[in-house]
Amino acid sequence: MNVVEYNNLIDKLSLQVKSFQEGFSLLSNAATLKELGTDFCRILQGNFFIRDVNIFFKKNATHEWECIIVHNEKCMEYLPYLKATHEAHIEYFNDTEFCVTATLPLTDGAMWGLVIGNKIDKSEITEIDKITLQMFLQLLDNAYQSFINQKKEKQLIFSLNHRVVQLNSLIDTGIEISKLHKTSSLLELSLERAAALTNASRGVLRIIADDGIATEIGFPGNSDILHVLSSEQRIDTGVEFKHVKYLYSLSEKESRNGIIDFDQTDEILLQAFARQVLAALENEHLHTEAIDKERMHQEIEMAATIQRKIIPQQLPQIEDYDLAGINIPSLEIGGDYYDVTKLKDGRYLLIIADVAGKGVASGLLVNTLNASLNAYVENDFQLTEVAERLNKIIFNASTPEKYITGFIALLEPESGIIEYLNAGHNPIFYADNGKLVKLDKGGLAFGMLDFSFPYESTRIQLKPGEKILFYTDGITEAMNHDDEEYTDQRLEYFFLSENSVSAETFIENLLADIKAHTKNTPQSDDITALYLSRNK
């Protein structure tokens, strides 16, 4: 080789190196396989002055060759020369139309096939051409690898973005369905989101109640539910709330290449959506319950307000007498009641009562007792008749387990004569000249039996310096931490020993003594007391 030939060769090689660089840049930007093949075809045509460059591709050895670029149909006759080998295979021919076949196996098992026509100037393929062709095939191999990597990178980015979408949608759906009050809306939303995020073609939600009645929701709207349920490409999950089953089924996971199997992530996603619905249903239920409770609380509060109005806020002043009372209900509506009323004839009616039980029902009975008593004592009356009427009224107004014990007294202020009637109430304490007398005569509790029970009344005289304590068993049975009661004996002792104090102070001291016994133990029953003492 002389200097000129040598320089020509250097120039040619330099051009080819430049051509390789430009070629690789071009091939690397190919967006599709066809684009890659088309660009490679142009590179070969330009570098070898050849018109017929036919390019084929197959995904793997078992696939048929796929035409990417075919300029001359006769090239198909050369397909048998495209061997499925593990290395690049090139064959050269002395033919009138085609001179080269080449097979380029790729790293992923796919392969390129080339059937190349003769040069336009009819010149033969030189050794340099052969080396150049091998280098271009290497270039194609690298470009394909780059193309695959780019595709994988795109898929990876797409997949990562899709995961973000799935997570985001899961969160958003949780928030959205918690805002929905219509249960069917949240169920539809959960189904369509679950289907979309798992790429399911279709979905169905069956809601099966305790009695076997089923409601079915399909996605998309007019989906054939049986088609979904009979599909082998299906995932299912379910939740149960208040004896109603919510069964989700998704079918036929989509891909660009057809239906594929659902994966574990899809199942986890579907379960997550179902759990969100369960949480939403539970929240909705708890919310409704809370509203109901609040409404009931308000009603009880209103009833308690009415009840408090029955208990006198201020007792009447009785000349030469000292009077004080207290009522502390253990619940919002108590079952205890006391009252002092001045009658038209100048006498005073004193009453203390205790309904068996507490709460709204007891409050209603107390109201009945109060209204009836006030009606009966408007005109002339006998205490025993009033008691009999009250017994009937309370019996008719209450359930069998409800009754009222009560102590009713009529005081003639001037004489100190007290006519009393004890209807099944605990004995009322009367200090007769320093001696304790228990007033227990009268009859059965009001409302206990439905027949005209003969009540009897008794008279005593409250003399100056003497006193009476009306009370309910909430005092004597007040418990401490050790479940020990305050007891009748302690109350008797307190009653007799607490002398020379005003009625108000007596009540205050009594409460303090009860508190000293119970300490911080929660009050278990209503505490009610009415104290009357005669000064002169």
Binding site: E192, R193, A196, E254
Partner: protein, 114 residues
């Protein structure tokens, strides 16, 4: 609840407006792409996709939309999404579609963006 997929299209100011109804999945996506290529091969390079009646899309449907975006990018065309449901708009944002496509409230607004 989404219905089965249907679409209609109209030519407006040298751009095609494709209006879809229902679930944009493999079937829906393929129909959109087919409709797009039908007009693109006739030289239409600007596309408006009105998704007012499509509020559910899966990732296969999105891959078809990306195919349209890539094709239009290579031919200096533009895709504009309109009437997007907030959840779909968020999905498209996360998937990066608005890096290469635009969005508008209505097709009339979209036409002004070409």
């Amino acid at each position: 609840m989404s219905s089965e997929f249907t679409l209609e299209s109209e030519i407006k100011n040298n751009c095609v407006v494709i209006i879809t109804t229902g679930y944009i999945n493999n079937v829906g996506g393929q129909k959109i792409v087919d409709e797009f290529y039908k007009h693109h091969s006739n030289g239409i390079n600007n596309v408006i996709l009105n998704l007012a009646k499509s509020n559910v899309v899966n990732s296969i449907g999105i891959s078809f939309l990306i195919e349209i975006i890539e094709k239009l990018n290579n031919t200096n065309g533009t895709l504009i999404f309109t009437n997007l449901d907030p959840s779909i708009e968020k999905t498209f944002t996360i998937m990066g579609l608005f890096q290469f496509a635009k969005k508008a409230d209505t097709p009339d607004e979209a036409v002004k963006l070409f």
